[in-house]
Symmetry: C2
């Protein structure tokens, strides 16, 4: 391993556009992977941007992903068209960071998830399970002149894994060096947690349940604000303990990990039902937000108490995602946590939580490039460690300089 | 570059099954690519096999490729299921050749072509053209423990090429060392030709028109034999010169290269029309076969006279494909060729024409692995040379041994 400038690219399920971030990644001395297979790396953010999809492109993309049927030509053209948009994002970032870094060595592109169904089934007599991330990496490599690693989920699934969560690997690399058990909690729409043991290995990762999705929906409907800034309203309200106790007995919270959830269960529909119920109970906006914030906090803490603490005591939590900006939520998590807890933010480690997925795909590309395995079987269920992704090579020799030049020129 | 044992895998448009062949490829001394960018390689065939698709798998595959609509789940599962079948082919070949070679270093897999439409069009406001080869390489790598390079056509198309023909690269490597202009003619159902200049560079490649497809159809319908063995019947017949002269004036033959054709134009439907016409003309089976064999021969020779000779005189032709076993056809080509011609077969160079496509994909994998560019812009129309394919890495270290063992064990 040696220092490389690596761009990470990702478009999430919301299909807003491409997150792009450029990092310098280098091995810490002593170089090479640690005994336990987690490479010791130094990571420096050079620059980042969000490259939004054109609104008509976004609408068509959302419709096509949801379409009950498509044809082969659409599959091909969508793959190439997404590749062009991802390439544009990379080229914009290369121009933007040109004064700081004059050479990009590698790109890691997750692509756009079109389908992900990690349940094995018989297909024409063959056991198969499916995932599809589009955004042709050969197009990204051609436009930028930079080698690209892409399509990270198939290799984990080929060895029996769920192809998710992949973020545990980044958590190991970023937070696994403290020598003590640590949990990494991402509070996005849904909250998910990665548990690192004292050796820095991820031993478990799962979705705890709602993160911000329900609180944000309540804030929007009750106060016309997109979210409850720093939890101010919730902090001034009173929790309806009886209702909270009913809510936290939902089946999902009792289910043992590994488990994942999403909008299907904890989306707008569920939020709107809760708001009707709050109304029936005569709760004020403050009381309603207090109770729903408590629901996120208590289910996170309960997930720890029920599924993690029996294996590993955690007194250090690293939080990320939009929820990490809500100090009332963080205070509540600490309050419900069954033991003393230190809470730190990704930013305390110099990590921008906004571009954590882009960083993940940069890290996966970097390690696959050097043939370091980078799936986490304990979290995905894979039977063994593999190198995720496929590498599009660019030719050796002077021609590479030309490619990069023509890339920048665009 | 260094010596590697490389498996090539391919399933053609007939969808019979997977051709698999194992080669030892090593750089000739002096090592490294030649001045002109064609690497100088020594190639030795270790073993080969055809791994047929199960008949129900084949039927469903043919139906799915032709289906007007599919869904995303089918796309995913078909990709994985094909990957499993390709992996089975590789594992069978690894077992079969185990006594000769105890280690396979690399696999090059073309996959199954599902769609190929190299015409640029606007898709959602983005210029795109499409190709799709399925057969998940991450599955092949997982089952065999061997790194895999796959999906060769996208990179050429990303730089404006047609993604075909790719075989010109193999022709350069195999036959471009004589120091004199050479043409390589493959007589399959359709006949295609690659023209190599005195430097061994492919300067042109195109389909000349019918190869065996029409003759074989005629033999089957007139004599119930699958083909006219060594052209014996044709040799004993008389060519209907007037009809031949009409046939050779078809538009396709006059069209300038680059051009490709297939079953759409010169398939069963066309053959059956010719047989009706032969019947109207009162031709015997022998006379009909003589005329149709002459049609293949004369259109090959005319393609040379019209499109190649003006740029380059060719007096050395290397033939391959089923038609290379038909000595009457080869004699006819020589007769129509406007100058003296030496005809040699692939086998004279130690190349099995049956596994030439498998060899091509082994060669493409080998060169991409070492970052040697391997598309041929003069033949595909690409704007520059790139490394075709995507590399699925396997992890460094002892774990690789385990993978190979578990692969063989199956």
């Amino acid at each position: 391993m040696r220092a490389l400038n690596v761009i990470g690219l990702n478009s999430g399920t919301s299909m807003d556009g491409v997150d792009a971030a450029l990092y310098t990644i280098r091995p810490k001395k002593p170089a090479g992977p640690s005994d336990k297979g987690v490479p010791s790396l130094e990571i420096e953010l050079v620059g980042s941007l969000l490259h939004p999809f054109e609104s008509s492109f976004q609408r068509r993309l959302q419709a096509t992903v949801a379409a009950p049927s498509i044809n082969w030509e659409q599959v091909c053209l969508l793959n190439v068209a997404l590749g062009e948009v991802f390439a544009d994002a990379a080229l914009r970032l290369m121009r933007q960071t040109r004064s700081k870094v004059n050479h990009v060595d590698l790109i890691g592109s997750h692509g756009q998830t079109i389908w992900h169904a990690p349940t094995p089934r018989k297909f024409w007599g063959v056991e198969a399970m499916g995932t599809l991330q589009l955004g042709e990496p050969a197009v990204i490599a051609a436009r930028t002149g930079v080698p690209v690693v892409a399509d990270f989920r198939t290799a984990d699934m080929a060895v029996g894994g769920q192809g998710a969560p992949l973020v545990s690997f980044a958590d190991e690399v970023l937070f696994g060096r403290s020598g003590k058990p640590t949990a990494v909690l991402n509070i996005g729409g849904i909250a998910n947690i990665t548990v690192l043991n004292e050796e820095g290995l991820a031993i478990l990762a799962f979705d705890t349940g709602p993160g911000n999705m329900i609180m944000d929906r309540a804030a929007l409907r009750l106060t016309s604000q997109p979210f409850d800034q720093d939890g101010r309203l919730a902090r001034s309200g009173r929790i309806d303990e009886k209702w909270l106790s009913e809510l936290k007995s939902l089946a999902y919270f009792r289910q043992s990990p590994p488990k994942t959830t999403g909008r299907e269960l904890f989306g707008f529909h569920f939020a709107d039902e809760l708001l009707s119920e709050a109304n029936r109970r005569g709760l004020s906006a403050q009381d309603c937000l207090a109770t729903l914030t408590a629901l996120s906090a208590v289910t996170i803490a309960r997930a720890y108490a029920d599924f993690i603490e029996p294996r590993l005591r955690i007194d250090e939590l690293v939080v990320g995602g939009g929820g990490a900006d809500n100090s009332y939520l963080l205070d509540s998590i600490k309050r419900y946590w069954p033991n003393e807890l230190t809470v730190r933010r990704h930013e305390d480690f110099g990590i921008s939580t906004k571009f954590k997925e882009a960083l993940l795909f940069a890290l996966l590309a970097y390690t696959t490039f050097f043939k370091i395995p980078n799936n986490v079987p304990a979290c995905t269920g894979a039977s063994r460690r593999v190198c995720l992704g496929k590498l599009v090579q660019t030719p050796v020799g002077s021609i590479i300089g030309e490619h990069i030049f023509s890339g920048y020129r665009k």
